[in-house]
Amino acid sequence: MKKSLLIGIGNSGRQDDGLGWAFVEQVEQEACFQGDCLYRFQLNIEDAELLSQYDQVFFADAFAGELPGGFALTPCHPQPDTAFSTHLLSPACTLYLCRQLYAQAPQAWLLTMQGYRWELKEGLSAKAQANLEKALKYFRTSCRESGELASFSSSQQS
């Protein structure tokens, strides 16, 4: 079996920014994913080394824009960016560093779930909770069918 990693990105103290963590939390509780689960406030440079240890990586994050259907799943490819901050990297940029530094290119997907509220408060908004449920339903089905992230096609959206 391929070695898989699921990373939830966000902050549960900022309302819907906690979607990524809530997704991973639920997946862990249901034990529907055969792989490692991690939580991150943001991705950092050293996460490139972490990714290099996996065959497949799945990023789950909140999204502040419009997503028809409430969530989106897209393949994630290595991509550099010239951001000056080293405190947060995009998944694509982290994959880029992984490839540059460790000559590894795990298959990767980015699950984004639409959020609506971002204040300093715990708990998801009702609409974000609904989007989380939709994303989880899709994820459960896919995991049940294959048990691996490889079951996801190159681009899927609810």
């Binding site: 406030f41 440079i45 080394e49 502040a64 000056f84 560093l97 540059q100 530094l101």
Partner: protein
């Protein structure tokens, strides 16, 4: 969400002009620089502003003292361990325990935690923040000056940087439970020791590169920087260099001391600017001046006054102030470092990078000593004495001297808190560094160029300022440079967001 860069330029005849760099990049937190020029384009004024405020000193009032080490570490995601430990040293005194009375095992655990923090923080600064300037030059295109390009140009260096940071963070996690915002300190001690199995993880090199590898890599980096200085001697020796006082804790025997010691201040010639003093006397030694244009205060020695009493803290100051380093490899490099300034205090700002890496080597050696110590999971971990109403904790954090001061009522509730962080101590020095670059670089070149912007930032970066800590605020770091005429009309502006 991820930064982009834009520019907005207009032209207008200018007499007096003002340039703002807002905020400074590749530093921790949010600050800006403004430069005021006269009609001849000479610098009239150069200021480094800290423009955010969060007010932790107020937040902690009314909370029980034992919460302080947990609350104040949220000041920062980079150096929370430093705040955790400084607050811990202070609240030890609230429960009647002075540093020398702490259980030996607790002292060792705290020291190991501290060395891991300094190690990973310094590595982060060098590899992630400073190395692009050094590898590609301050005049390199902005697109080049980032860790991505370091990874492309020098992947081995980048991999070592990542592994060194990881080693420190893993050790922090082993001791405090989490890499960021973990908990080790409890009033009068620590929550847990470190078992042999836990220590072996860092010694055997199986799961991660061993502490011996960390020592070897640290030494490599020190040699790299000595070589770099040889190759770029003029720039390294002169850029933003100026005489100053230097403040640091120092051990009773004069050794470099990061966790617990006495204050020592040397002037630019190496003479003592004051008698060595207990860290608990800081209120008698220092005053803090304020300015309306920044939230960051300006500490100075009362005995010398505001004009002459300012000083630097951090790696450069520490290596100037100490008489020796207790670990052999770092001491050998310190002696070589002293040769660069003919055994006088080194006032060359860019040599701070070298001093910082010598401290990395020192911390690596110290970590090894402690990881080999079988007593780390033996003996008592906590002691308590008679309740007091005052606690002052001082440590040498990665960026310099860090002071935590708490007063509590008889029920243990905090009634007063005062924090003087490393970056605050360096405020005057950073402002002078900005002025130096402005006068040396801007005077004859009024056009705003990327190279100019970065040279101002390079000077500030040498101090590794943690602006979030300094004002107890958090923020992103977009960059804006604005040029105003004498009537404060915008003449030219470049923005990074």
């Amino acid at each position: 969400m991820y930064p982009t860069r834009s520019s907005n330029t207009t032209n207008r005849n200018a007499m007096d002009r003002k340039i703002a760099i807002d905020p400074v990049t590749r530093v921790e937190g949010h600050g800006k620089v403004t430069l005021h020029l006269d009609e001849q384009n000479r610098v009239k004024e150069a200021r480094f502003h800290i423009v955010e405020f969060r007010g932790f000193e107020s937040f902690v009032k009314g909370h029980p003292y034992w919460e302080a080490p947990l609350l104040v570490q949220r000041l920062c995601g980079i150096c929370p361990v430093s705040h955790h430990l400084a607050a811990g040293k202070a609240i030890d005194q609230i429960v009647g325990i002075d540093p020398e009375d702490l259980p030996p095992t607790a002292t060792k655990i705290r020291r190991l935690l501290h060395y891991a923090q300094v190690f990973q923080s310094h590595a982060t600064h060098f590899f992630y923040l400073a190395s692009p300037d050094l590898l590609f030059g301050v005049e390199a295109p902005a697109e080049k000056r980032n860790i991505m390009e370091v990874a492309v140009a020098n992947p081995e260096l980048a991999r070592k940087g990542i592994q060194m940071r990881k080693f420190g963070q893993e050790l922090i996690q082993a001791i405090a439970g989490k890499k960021v915002h973990g908990i080790s300190v409890t009033p009068g001690g620590v929550h847990k020791g470190l078992s042999k199995e836990e220590r072996t993880f860092f010694l055997d090199g199986k799961a991660i590169p061993s502490v011996d590898t960390m020592i070897a890599w640290s030494l490599e980096m020190v040699r790299f920087l000595f070589d770099y200085r040889e190759q770029h001697r003029e720039w390294m020796d002169s850029f933003a260099a100026f005489p100053s006082n230097h403040l640091s804790l120092v051990a009773a025997d004069g050794a470099l001391e990061l966790y617990d010691g006495k204050f020592r201040v040397l002037d630019a010639t190496g003479a003592k600017a004051m008698e060595d003093a207990a860290d608990s006397t800081y209120q008698q030694l220092f005053s803090e001046a304020t300015e309306t244009w920044t939230y960051l205060k300006f500490p100075y020695l009362k005995s010398l006054g505001r004009e002459n009493g300012w000083y630097r803290v951090g790696p450069l100051a520490r290596l100037n102030v100490c008489e020796f380093i207790s670990t052999p490899l770092a001491e050998r490099e310190r002696q070589a470092f002293k040769q660069l300034s003919s055994n006088s205090p080194n006032n060359k700002t860019m040599h701070t990078h070298l001093a910082r890496m010598i401290e990395v080597l020192h911390c690596a050696e110290l970590m090894k000593e402690l990881l080999l110590d079988d007593s780390l999971d033996q003996g008592e971990l906590v002691r308590q004495g008679k309740h007091r109403n005052l606690g002052i904790g001082v440590i040498e954090a990665p960026r310099g001297t860090l002071i935590h001061h708490y007063e509590v009522d008889d029920s243990g509730m905090i009634t007063r808190c005062n924090l003087i962080v490393s970056t605050t101590h360096n405020n005057e020095a950073m402002n002078r560094s900005v002025r130096w670059v402005a006068e040396q670089v801007l005077d004859s070149k009024p056009e705003i160029t990327e190279g100019l912007l970065n040279q101002v930032e390079t000077a500030v970066r040498a101090y590794d300022p943690c602006l979030s800590c300094a004002t107890h605020a958090l923020g992103q770091m977009p960059l804006r440079v604005s040029l105003f005429d004498a009537a404060n009309q915008l003449v030219d502006e470049k923005i990074r967001e």
